[in-house]
């Protein structure tokens, strides 16, 4: 199972209290995780990446294994620790604004 940690506002929107666990078929990439996340929680569509361009929203970042993966290709394989569920995939809101 893939583990995903959402920022608090998206946890509220998706009505989940803790981390989300997802089944991801095939290679585990950012795109595969987000596809699975949006399939399980349609309310999150458009809140993490654009509906049309599929680009990450500018004030969000993707982290895993203490690495900022935000600028990696969405189709690049994620670390084995994420694929095995040992480490979560983190979606983090920028610390900004009032």
């Amino acid at each position: 199972m893939i583990r995903v940690i959402l920022p608090p506002h998206l946890r509220t929107l998706a009505e989940v209290e803790d981390e989300v666990q997802l089944e991801v078929g095939g290679q585990v990439t950012q795109r595969a995780i987000l596809d699975a996340l949006e399939a399980s929680y349609p309310v999150l569509s458009g809140t993490i990446r654009d509906h049309v361009t599929r680009q990450r929203r500018p004030f969000l970042r993707f982290f895993a294994c203490a690495e900022d993966l935000s600028h990696e290709s969405p189709d690049a394989p994620l670390p084995e620790e994420v694929a095995s569920g040992a480490e979560p995939f983190l979606i983090i809101g920028a610390i900004a604004g009032g």
Binding site: H9, V43, S45, G46, T47, I48, V52, R57, A94, G97
Partner: protein
């Protein structure tokens, strides 16, 4: 006994204020969607318990919420706003072409007859409609496609379609307004549109007869006279007696004719309200006095309404969607401020009192009059 429900959108959530017809004691619920910007909440005239809310965030984008029980519970519905066809470009601040990009929904206008039908005015300016209770949205492309779209330019707050007025006598006629493109009208249910800005004069536009480019802040109409429109422009208060074909300035004796809100008394079509703001570079009331101005003559002759409003050291703003009226026998007027106050008058503006003082900055106020 009748009740009123005041729907307040703020920078950090939605609040719902309810009272009986006396409008003296208020119950306050919220924040709903705490931490999110709620640009607008509005109820369906055909089913007052059906509410729509625009929930937005710089981090997470757009969410549309829908309630079927007057705001006690909510469910997120569709948030996919995709421009029809190739979006094209409008003018950027520096005059260069800039691609149309969806940013947020500023205003939701439910149909007068069908609770599942609702319009959305968005930034970058376009008009969308849902026919399935907000689950899916389709652009009404005739507005951006009518020809002047490439010349539209954003105002300081963004290029937003902020006003949608549905003609109660003619379902094919809709008025909309965009900052800073101007006002537009369709007479065929949205297929074709034309600018209705003749008579508007804006100092920053070189061509005095420019058909687009005017920073219209708000338009209001009385439902019994949909051909009569009142406008608060960036500067100037105006009226039109011919459905926008021509406009005449009616600023009269206002202390300043800059402002954002304008609204019409529920039972007196010639009684209108504005909140003058000092200037476009000083977004607060003149002299630190928060005053609503009322004209009982459809403009030109204005009286200051001050009873119950702060008359010194007040430097809040009242944004364009933040005034509304109820339709009780003694018409109630409501407005919200960027300081988080929502003021109400149960006697058409003669006396005011705050319903609540310390909300986040208020973006919008709507009122429902309930049986």
């Amino acid at each position: 006994m009748s009740k009123v429900r005041v729907l307040v959108g703020t920078r950090k959530g939605a609040f719902i204020l309810t009272s009986d017809g006396k409008r003296e004691q208020w119950d306050i619920s919220g924040p709903h969607f705490g931490g999110w910007e709620i640009y607008h909440i509005k109820g369906s005239p055909a089913d007052p318990n059906r509410l729509y809310a625009s929930q937005t965030s710089g981090w997470f984008g757009q969410v549309i919420q829908r309630s079927n029980d007057g705001g006690q519970t909510w469910e997120p519905v569709g948030n996919k706003f995709v421009y029809d066809g190739v979006p094209g470009t409008h003018q950027w601040y520096d005059g260069t072409p800039h691609p149309w990009e969806f940013k947020r929904v500023w205003h939701l206008e439910p149909s007068l007859s069908d609770p599942d039908s609702v319009y959305a005015g968005v930034e970058d300016a376009a008009l969308f409609r849902s026919a399935d209770g907000g689950q899916t949205w389709q652009e009404i492309p005739g507005l951006r496609g009518h020809g002047s779209g490439p010349r539209w330019q954003p105002g300081a707050g963004g290029m937003c379609l902020h006003t949608i007025l549905l003609d109660p006598r003619d379902p094919d006629r809709i008025f909309i307004a965009i900052s800073a493109a101007g006002a537009f009208r369709t007479d065929d249910g949205g297929q074709t549109w034309r600018p209705i800005n003749r008579g508007l004069h804006s100092q920053y536009i070189p061509d005095p007869n420019a058909e687009v480019g005017h920073c219209v802040h708000r338009i209001a109409m009385h439902p019994s006279r949909p051909q009569v429109l009142f406008m608060q422009k960036h500067w100037d208060v105006l009226r039109s007696d011919d459905a926008g074909e021509s406009w005449q300035e009616v600023s009269g004796n206002l202390p300043t004719d800059f402002g954002f809100v304008i609204d019409v008394h529920a039972h007196e079509p010639e009684t209108i309200y504005v909140v003058p703001i000092k200037s476009d570079s000083e977004h607060f009331p003149p002299e630190g006095k928060l005053r609503v101005f009322r004209s009982r003559t459809g403009g030109n002759e204005w009286e200051a309404l001050t009873k119950g409003l702060p008359q010194k050291d007040c430097y809040v703003n009242v944004l364009r969607d933040a005034m509304a009226v109820d339709s009780l026998e003694s018409c109630g007027i409501y407005f919200g401020t960027t300081g988080g106050q929502v003021y109400a008058s149960a006697d058409a503006g003669d006396a005011w009192a705050p319903i609540v003082r310390d909300l986040p900055a208020v973006l919008s106020v709507e009122v429902q009059t309930l049986p």
